[in-house]
């Protein structure tokens, strides 16, 4: 995979921030004025726990992106881009600010530790990411499919999952596959 961090591909934006900015040792970038931290999989839970103590009391959103067809993106120079990226949005009501965390998840080992211990509200969102992208969350209490049927094959929001040619099937119906 080409390393997009070599070339200066920063999209047009007024806020070019020195590379050195860190948040609890985690590199930080800015995207359209929004602060984005880039923890590694092992730093994620500790960072979220520390931030929780600092007033980032709610985890609003947890989702993922499959960068298979689009390896270009803005990342700090120290990080290798991976196929998947899990995106967590936290909010601090005191600061009235949101904070985005982007975690690189490799294709050959799509596993992250769960945020359930810090933010139980991520339970359904992690199940959705598991269902749609096949990323597992270690320590999740009930990691099962949430939107698709339990016996579904594949992960629909992956970019290599074809759109539209799969007949709708339910348990008990005769299968053509």
């Amino acid at each position: 995979m080409a390393d997009p961090t070599d070339a200066p591909q920063e999209p047009a934006g007024p806020e070019d921030v020195p590379e050195a900015e860190l948040l609890h040792g985690v590199p930080v970038t800015y995207s359209r004025g929004q602060r984005v931290a880039h923890p590694s999989a092992s730093e994620l839970v500790d960072l979220v726990r520390t931030l929780h103590g600092e007033g980032w009391i709610q985890c609003l959103d947890l989702t993922a992106v499959d960068y298979l067809a689009n390896p270009h993106r803005t990342l700090p120079a120290s990080l290798d881009p991976q196929r998947f990226e899990v995106v967590v949005t936290l909010i601090s009501h005191r600061e009235r600010e949101r904070l985005r965390l982007r975690v690189q998840v490799p294709e050959d080992e799509p596993v992250l530790p769960t945020l359930f211990e810090v933010h139980p509200g991520t339970e359904a969102m992690e199940r959705e990411v598991f269902d749609m992208f096949g990323i597992s969350f270690e320590g999740h209490p009930d990691l099962t499919r949430i939107l698709m049927p339990e016996d579904w094959q594949g992960h629909p929001l992956r970019k290599d999952f074809a759109l539209g040619r799969i007949p709708v099937q339910f348990k008990g119906a005769p299968s053509s596959r």
Binding site: S31, G55, T74, T89, R96, G121
Partner: protein, 456 residues
């Protein structure tokens, strides 16, 4: 003007009302314990797969806290149950009439709208997202367009922003009337169902007069709105708003002041602030616990910082508070709508940026270039610069967010909607725990989930 504001540090300033001589008072959070400790975790959420349920019971309890298998019953409620607001299905573990654990089972309405969104242009995307939360379609279009506009970096003319705000508040009215209707129906007041529906339809007629459609409007477009407000909108909207206060008084008489209504709702399905925050709940569910958090006031988008309104909060976090909050939010939305009627600025209803806005109709007849430009915008769409953003608005159900990644083409590379109903549904097992099965319907109703948005 308002595009990037909700994430901008400058917007984190507190407003005058929050400040005393000792600084910000109102929003200081109480000490919040770690998420798991504050939850009534043991015994609220039923975690059981379909096959386990077919085998006839919950998995072996390992902490000894759960009741004995032999004394509990697993029953299924929905997805075709008339009181589950569409296709919500619940697996309930009962001990006699008491609900012990609950598992919401969702996905019956899943149509892969996020995947579909990756294959539609930014112009077509509105028709897709508007079908998610079908009770408040304007908000879905709004958040989608705010995200796309943040990527492009366009500034809207003031009139476009105000039209959007007017549409959003009108939609909040119809959405809350729908809640009052279904909440009444779920609790056995079929008169309320008809009344709520009557007011909602009146509101939908105004939306139809403005957008051309009762629902799924695709009216808010990237760069503004699809059209200007029609002639006579002021009179029509004012006439509608004048009928409502009297009818809200009737609702108060019919429901709020009625002992049966209060008995059915007060103290039923309670939740604390800590639990609501830990579970990611937003909107009326969070506000019912006495926690004043409303994106319209606290992280103002559109022109909400230029209008006057109050954030309604409850005290006990029960079903009655959630009902009362929505009823009174109708009054606050009306205040905003009156101010929209008064202050609606003149000017353009969409940005005159040739990149995102098709040329006016008159130009198409005389200019070949305008015709080609028009054709290209509607077939190929316009390209959006690379990047990723998160935009959010306060929908009638809570924080509605849109996370959008662009690879520089005419379709979003990834479009994720953070549906408030999807996240709010997680509080359901905690609201139901320890209550009676007869209260389950009242509790589901008070969460006000819209399954189109839950399943997407």
């Amino acid at each position: 003007m308002t595009i990037a504001e909700d994430d901008h540090p400058a917007m984190s300033q507190t407003t005058d009302t929050d400040l005393t001589s000792e600084g910000a008072q109102e929003m200081e959070p109480r000490p919040i314990a770690g998420g798991v400790e504050v939850l009534r975790e043991v015994g609220s959420v039923l975690r059981m797969s379909e096959s386990e349920a077919e085998d006839g019971g919950p998995g072996t309890p390992d902490d000894g806290e759960e009741p004995d298998d032999a004394e509990t019953t697993i029953i299924n409620m929905g997805p075709q149950h008339p009181s589950t607001h569409g296709v919500l299905r619940l697996m309930l573990e009962l001990d006699g009439e008491t609900v012990l654990r609950t598992k919401p089972v969702i996905g019956y309405l899943h149509t892969g709208m996020e995947k579909t969104g990756e294959n539609l242009t930014y112009l077509q995307g509105g028709t897709n997202v508007t079908r998610m939360d079908y009770a408040s379609p304007i908000f879905n279009e709004l958040v989608f367009c705010l995200a796309a506009e943040k990527l492009i970096g366009v500034d809207l003319p003031p009139r476009a922003t105000w039209i959007r705000m007017l549409m959003a508040e009108l939609n909040r009215l119809t959405s809350h009337f729908l809640f009052l209707a279904t909440n009444g129906m779920d609790l056995g007041s079929s008169s309320m169902m008809i009344y709520g529906w009557r007011e909602r339809e009146e509101g939908l007629r105004i939306l139809e007069a403005i957008t051309g459609l009762r629902m799924n409007h695709n009216f808010i477009r990237v760069g503004g709105t699809a059209a200007d407000l029609p002639d006579g909108w002021r009179e029509r909207l004012a006439a509608y708003l004048q009928t409502i206060p009297e009818r809200l008084e009737e609702y108060e008489a019919l429901m709020t002041h009625q002992p049966i209504w209060r008995d059915r709702l007060q103290g039923v399905g309670t939740i604390t602030t800590e639990e609501a925050l830990a579970l990611g709940a937003t909107g009326p569910i969070l506000r019912s616990t006495g926690y004043a958090w409303d994106l319209r006031r606290d992280m103002a988008h559109l022109a909400y910082d230029e209008v006057d309104f109050d954030v309604i909060v409850g005290t006990y976090g029960d079903s009655f508070d959630r009902y009362a909050i929505r009823l009174n939010e109708i009054r606050e939305s009306m205040r905003i709508l009156w101010q929209c009627i008064e202050k609606m600025p003149d000017g353009d209803y969409r940005v005159q940026d040739k990149k995102v806005t098709p040329p006016p109709r008159g130009r198409i007849d005389e200019s070949m270039e305008a015709l080609i430009h028009h054709f290209k915008i509607f077939t190929e769409g316009f390209k959006v610069p690379e990047g990723e953003v998160y935009a959010a608005v306060e929908s009638p159900r809570g924080e509605l967010g849109c996370y959008m990644v662009s690879d520089g083409s005419a379709t979003p590379y990834r479009m994720h909607i953070r549906g408030p109903s999807f996240v709010n549904l997680q509080v359901l097992p905690h609201l139901m725990h320890g209550g009676l099965i007869a209260d389950a319907v009242a509790i589901i109703s008070s969460v006000d989930p819209i399954m189109g948005e839950v399943d997407r």
